[in-house]
């Protein structure tokens, strides 16, 4: 029942713009391994055109509702939009409840909007390990804007800042969110801070609080100064302002080669991470390494060898010229 068409035929259908093929290729990317690499190898040449915008913030801040509004505006400007909505996998059951689509169903029949929900699976932060690859696939599928939603917990906010060109931090006026944001490290990664649920009366005060905190930051001359925007996804206010600021940030990156540098940095860290990952897996899988390690550990337990003596010996074994 789980038979899948061959990767070749999926890639052909994908090139013809078939959504079902794109969706099945995403599943292959999610499952990882050799097949995922084959898919990425063959689509990568067609990537590089999508602008990536990350939306992160505490649970229930209104990220999905905001994405829904923002997508409508971007569609009116003729952008083709890909959305990746990531929710956490339960560490206890391995299951996940992916509910972000509920807020975005207005776009489900628009052929130029592709929404995919991902569970974070093995990743420690709130983000999925294959996020980059799924962005690439949407990029190669012709989406020129890719919006990524992640819950701002754990390490995910750091990860999103390594993947997105513009990071939008979504906050709500509810008690102490400004402080929470500072604690969680959200203040460092946001290019834009949205105070959503502006239909609540304390929103303006909360926005001012964020603004005051941002003023304390030392921003070098000519660099981007994070902006604060008030929105209500419910009442559809402030959405145009948010779009304006996102576009302003994009223009800022386009100046002086910032964007090109950022792109290189992102790709560099992807290669490095993939390499480290691969090396670690190979080390773990090697019988030779394991045997030698087990032997030498006895000497370490007895205090005859220091940990580094063992490491140096193992290094010889796997030496890379």
């Amino acid at each position: 029942m789980r038979e899948r068409p061959s990767i070749e035929s999926l890639l052909e259908l994908f090139a013809d713009g078939k959504v079902s093929a794109a969706a099945r290729l995403i599943t292959i990317l999610e499952d990882g391994g050799k097949d995922a690499e084959r898919v990425l190898d063959s689509i990568f040449q067609r990537t590089g055109n999508a602008y990536r915008i990350g939306f992160t913030g505490p649970p229930g801040a209104g990220k999905s509702s905001l994405l829904n509004r923002v997508t409508a505006k971007f569609r009116a400007k003729d952008h083709r939009v890909g959305i990746i909505a990531i929710d956490p996998t339960s560490p206890f059951t391995g299951g996940a409840f992916l509910g972000d689509r509920i807020r975005m169903q207005a776009h489900s029949e628009d052929p130029d909007v592709f929404v995919r929900s991902l569970a974070s699976r093995g990743s420690l932060g709130g983000i999925s390990n294959c996020t980059d690859e799924v962005v690439d696939l949407m990029d190669a599928f012709g989406k020129d804007l890719v919006l990524i939603e992640t819950v701002g917990v754990g390490q995910s906010e750091l990860e999103i800042s390594e993947k997105a060109h513009t990071v939008v931090v979504v906050l709500v006026p509810e008690s102490g969110d400004g402080i929470q944001a500072m604690k969680a490290g959200l203040m460092e990664i946001g290019d834009i801070f949205v105070m959503n649920k502006a239909d609540h009366e304390d929103a303006e005060g909360a926005a001012r609080e964020i603004q005051d905190t941002l003023r304390l930051k030392d921003i070098p001359e000519g660099e981007w100064e994070p902006k604060v925007v008030l929105t209500s996804a419910r009442e559809e206010t402030g959405i145009d302002d948010l779009i304006d600021v996102i576009e302003e940030h994009r223009r800022h990156l386009d100046e002086g080669g910032r964007f090109a540098n950022m792109r290189k940095k992102i790709l560099r860290s992807r290669v490095r991470n993939a390499l480290m990952d691969r090396m670690e897996r190979r080390l773990r899988a090697s019988d030779k390494v394991r045997e030698l390690l087990e032997q030498r550990m006895e000497s370490v337990y007895r205090g005859e060898m220091s940990p580094y003596m063992v490491v140096r010996e193992l290094e010889e074994l796997v030496s890379i010229q």
Partner: protein
């Protein structure tokens, strides 16, 4: 590289009760599956397109409104058009026995009546998609 079972749970029709759908979604999640929940008032077009984009293995529809004889065939037809006829579809709700028979004849995998033990639904999916 265990392949996760992905299930779309939706509530078509006009009535505003999705308690049953949520209970099922939660049970499947607790059984280790990935549930894409699209909520209330789903049209056949929304359901089929979401199922395709999310590349789910299974679609579960909770129906109380009596529109089942149009809803299921329409969703299945649309999924087929979109190249996703492999997706298993099941339903839950109050559906007369003769209709259940008709639906199963056109390819609905199973209809679960009211008061179904969610464990049975988990089992039904697991039988088709064992953990790899």
């Amino acid at each position: 590289m265990a392949r996760k079972v992905r299930v779309l749970v939706a509530k078509p029709g006009l009535d505003g009760h999705d308690r049953g759908a949520k209970v099922v979604a939660n049970a499947l999640k607790d059984a280790g599956m990935e549930i894409i929940y699209t909520g209330l008032h789903q049209t056949p077009e929304m359901i089929a397109e979401s199922a395709v984009q999310e590349d789910v293995d299974v679609v579960g529809l909770s129906i109380l409104s009596g529109a089942h004889m149009t809803m299921f065939p329409r969703v299945m037809e649309l999924m087929k058009e979109k190249g996703a006829e492999h997706i298993v579809i099941f339903g839950g709700g109050i559906i007369p026995a003769e209709d259940v028979e008709k639906l199963e004849k056109i390819g609905v995998a199973r209809i679960f009546g009211p008061g179904t033990d969610t464990g049975d639904i988990v089992k039904f999916i697991r039988e088709r998609f064992p953990e790899e």
